[in-house]
Amino acid sequence: MALLEVRDLHVFYGNIEALKGISLDAQPKQVVAILGGNGAGKTTTLRTISGLLRPRSGSITCDGKSIVGVPAHVIVGLGLSQVPEGRRIFNILNVEENLSLGGYLMRSHRQLIKERKAAVYELFPRLAERRGQLAGTLSGGEQQMLAIGRALMSDPKVLMLDEPSLGLAPMLARSVLKTVRRIADRGAAVLLVEQNARQALAIADYAYVIEVGRIALEGEAAALASDERVQKAYLGGFESVGSA
């Protein structure tokens, strides 16, 4: 049984069915990439796992426990943490305060918070230099580091990242994804939503391709990277996998 198991997830926005039966697994130390075009349902999948959206049907279990219907702020405490699309750091708070909020559920354990902050600063030395600076004044790359660091403060078993390389210069994007790989190697299960399929597949173990709310294709990352349909659709071409 996988650490995170999603089965036949159906999610609606009003009458529009955004997810039409998504199933996926993630294991510790694994980077699982979720690829797909705009509006395919990648973000919706993460938001539903995080508890920000409620599925109409389907199951989500973490460590064998169902987390469907559990409020988002409780899900964090169960070990699932998300770096949302667009970073969504608290721009009026400084770096240190942003990290403090990442450890909100452990706020009474000051020593633990201190250690986790130190670990984040070790992972992202740039943040340590700017710990007193307002988050809104950080560069895009630094903001992404902060968003990831903030999510790591709760020491998640499952870390979900929504487009962490979006808007970053290519070199910075590679460095962020490298860090994502390191986080998985340390033991977390990582769900990585990415537009940049080539770089995502380079660091991922397994990947799912979502098209209009369904899993169109899945497999080992290396196999998918060399798959002709994926190459056409996401690594240069423009056709969809389904029509190939």
């Binding site: 995080s50 508890g51 920000l52 409020p71 988002a72 702020h73 409780v74 964090v76 405490g77 943490s81 998300q82 949302p84 969504r88 750091i89 608290f90 721009n91 009026i92 708070l93 305060e97 403090s100 909020l101 990442g102 909100y104 559920l105 706020r107 809104g136 903030r150 999510a151 709760s154």
Partner: protein
């Protein structure tokens, strides 16, 4: 000059009460974009709870420090409970609906508190014990300052400092500021957004109740209608300072107090509201973001 300074002393005293009520508006608005129009009436309820304890229960005869602690703390708690009730039963079901629905509900809550208070405490003007604090004072040059004024202004400042320390210095306060930016991101941190909203309502009500008791001590007379104008003036203060902005609410409160004192002194008391609400309209037209004008989403 002496007259001007005298008005200034009066204005700062009254302004510190407005500032407390304005802070309640601003904290709640900063988090859920709701103008809690019951804010002024919560102050009135606080004043009456304090009056009940001091006069009806006779606590005014206790040693002054004990009497004051009781007269402030219990109304603050009671009013906080009322505000939580309003949040849970009136606002919460509407939070995801239209802003207009919740705005009208807020006005309804204001009327509800007024009418309930009229039923409980009657329509008549009630009087706080006049000699609770020494009425005497002293002169600084030509300006007469009373001990009551000093005590009340200091108490207001202490409450404001306490609020700022809470909002800036605690993780809960940081969570409140985070909510002013992004509710969903806050949820993803494990922050129970509903619980933080409740904390904001508790703080707002406590500040309102404290200002109500202070008004009772300062003006002696209280009546169930007193919260209405008080609330509107404090709202003006909050808008003037930039609603959602804590230092702005404090500055706005003091400015409205001064404006009121100068108007009453140099023109006449009947012009007070004309000037105060003239300011409200002018700010809304000329600089809707208020004196500390930033974008609303980047406040607190």
């Amino acid at each position: 000059m002496g007259v001007f300074l005298q008005y200034t002393v009066i204005g700062l005293t009254v302004g510190s009460f407005y500032a407390l009520v304005a802070l309640g508006y601003t904290i709640v608005y900063g988090i859920i974009r709701l103008i809690n129009f019951a804010q002024g009436d919560l102050s009135m309820v606080g004043a009456f709870l304090g009056w009940t304890l001091l006069v009806s229960f006779g606590f005014e005869h206790l040693p002054i420090y004990i009497a004051l602690v009781i007269a402030f703390v219990i109304p603050m708690i009671g009013t906080a409970v009322i505000n939580i009730g309003i949040l849970q039963f009136a606002y919460k079901p509407l939070l995801r609906r239209s802003l207009l629905a919740i705005l009208i509900t807020a006005l309804g809550m204001s009327l509800l508190l007024q009418n309930a208070s009229e039923l409980i405490w009657g329509p008549a003007i009630q009087a706080y014990p006049p000699n609770l604090l020494p009425l005497s004072g002293f002169f600084i040059g030509p300006v007469h300052v009373t001990y009551v004024q000093i005590a009340l202004v200091i108490a207001s400042l202490l409450l404001m400092c306490g609020l700022v320390a809470f909002v800036q210095g605690t993780t809960m306060g940081t969570a409140m500021r985070a909510l002013a930016v992004d509710h969903d991101a806050a949820r993803l941190m494990g922050i129970n957004v509903d619980a933080v909203i409740r904390v904001a309502f508790v703080l707002g009500a406590m500040l309102a109740a404290a200002s109500g008791v202070m008004l009772g001590i300062y003006y002696v007379q209280i009546q169930f209608t007193m919260g209405f104008l008080l609330g509107l003036r404090a709202f003006t203060a909050a808008v003037l300072g930039g609603i959602g902005n804590i230092p702005g609410a404090m500055a706005g409160g003091l400015l409205i107090g001064l404006l009121e004192a100068y108007t009453t002194g140099y023109l006449s008391g009947t012009w007070e509201d004309v000037v105060v609400f003239g300011v409200l309209i002018t700010v809304l037209i000329v600089k809707p973001t208020g004196l500390f004008g930033e974008r609303v989403a980047e406040r607190m």
